[in-house]
Amino acid sequence: MAASIPDDIFFASITEINQKLKAKEFSAVELTKAFCARLEQLGPRYNALALGLRDKAVKAAKDVDGDLKRERYRGPLHGIPFGAKDLLAYAKHPTTWGAKPYAGQVFDYDATVLKRLIKGGAILTGKLAMVELAGGPSYRYASASLTGPGLNPWDPTHWSGGSSSGSGIAVAAGLVTYALGSETSGSILTPAAFCGVTGLRPTYGLVSRHGAMALSWTLDKIGPLCRSAEDCGLVLHEIAGADAEDPATAGKSFYYAPQFARDLKEVKVGFAPVDFAEWADPAARPDFAKAIETVRSLGVQLVETKLPEFPYGPVIGTIISSEASSIFEPLIQSGNVDQLADQKQIAGLKAGLEIPAKDYLKAMRIRSLMQEGLRTLLDDIDVLLAPSRLAPAPKITQPLDRPSSDRPTPKERGLTALIPAGNLAGLPALSLPCGFADGMPIAIQLVGRPFSENLLLTLGKFFQEKTDWHKRRPALSEPRA
């Protein structure tokens, strides 16, 4: 590690580092070299690093130092080191999608989100590990990755969550200041919750996916994993907006503006007590209960609610399987699909080619009604509040498609299907660390109307002004000699 960079900097917010760069407490090159060394040293220990980018990062940092010397500031991300999930194309460097069949894949262009961040002066220090093919239709084990299972910095015998595993790990362990991930159904919220960092899933269409691996055209979103809600706002500000290269972009921009937040007394937050009191892991319930009270103390109106009844699981499963198998048909037909690490993923991709059109269309027609149902629910309620995940991270050897406990299933569903429901309806979500269960992080999620990111981020900012869960750091194991 570079001696001139104090340890606290590895866990500092974007704004804090930006101020220190401007104050010339250290140079962008010193900062970048220190982060690169840490990422190269600790990243492999947690199976978080796909590709280090030290040389390009240091070169970019020299340019930043030149800018700072001339007092040219390109924005809050100027000079800040970040990492990107390895499903984003970065020209002339390997982009593996976390999967052995694509280990040698190189693109000749940059993903739009990377172009935007780099234009804003951000420093890309590494590509981060991920679950192979972002999870494909499904997978059984945490080991479903070219780089091995994502190991949780809070306890490496536990999983990091996926599919943006390296992104969650790298932020939690202070290997980058923030990271980009992607979500089709839970791939930002899950690693954010399990690793104790803040994750934002933007509204479908707010952020361009050009240059990102496609898993499901109608569900894929790209978003940040950061130290705080405020940092998520700063990153989203930079990456959001229309892109002719991605026909799904909605043509909307995003301006992070917490100063224009509504009076929280006017904000109605819906939650289902059964989620926290019966569905949640018993060890997580005390801190979940405190989180509800903290949200209440913000002055919002808390009301009880539940999701409209729909077969969220079968619908999202059918859509992802159908779209993923179509996307990866060449991989399946070539036989190279058998090189994947997870047998369930291999079988799921093969079998997905046989899903009849009538089932895909039926799922998409039910999805129309689901969107309407959620729109109706969110006519009266501004934000939905639920656990991000009902339990902390499982052990890395545990099958992910089997229940982790034999507790009886509660009668009411509450908001427990909020991850598939929110993704099917394209709604934004923010995951906020809210405590610990058995020594592992837990989190709540806030879900709002399409393009209501500013409200979610403002609530998140106020929640984090009253709590310090997002500032907790894992005691990392010592690097190898």
Binding site: P308, E309, F310, P311, G348, G352, P356, D359, R365, S368
Partner: protein, 79 residues
């Protein structure tokens, strides 16, 4: 999206707004979403069979969900 005109075969009293339809959907949908519990497959052939069986069960669950003819899929094509 529901841009289709009502068909001649529809009775006037069956005309529902999408909002009313959503509000009145059966709670049995909750049961449809529950995954069955089966032992872990031990080889690739068993795995493929298990996935195909699951897809078949999902198909049956989707088939049980009644939809009005006018409900269009949640996809958009822009010329």
């Amino acid at each position: 999206m529901s841009r289709q005109p009502e068909t001649r075969n529809q009775k006037p009293e069956t005309k529902l707004t999408r909002r009313a339809l959503v509000a009145g959907l059966s709670t049995s949908a909750a049961l449809l979403a529950q995954a069955p519990s089966v032992p872990l497959p031990s080889n690739p052939d068993e795995e493929l069979k298990a996935v195909k069986d699951a897809i078949q069960q999902t198909s049956q669950q989707l088939a049980k969900f009644d939809l009005p003819m006018s409900t269009e899929p949640a996809v958009h094509f822009r010329a």
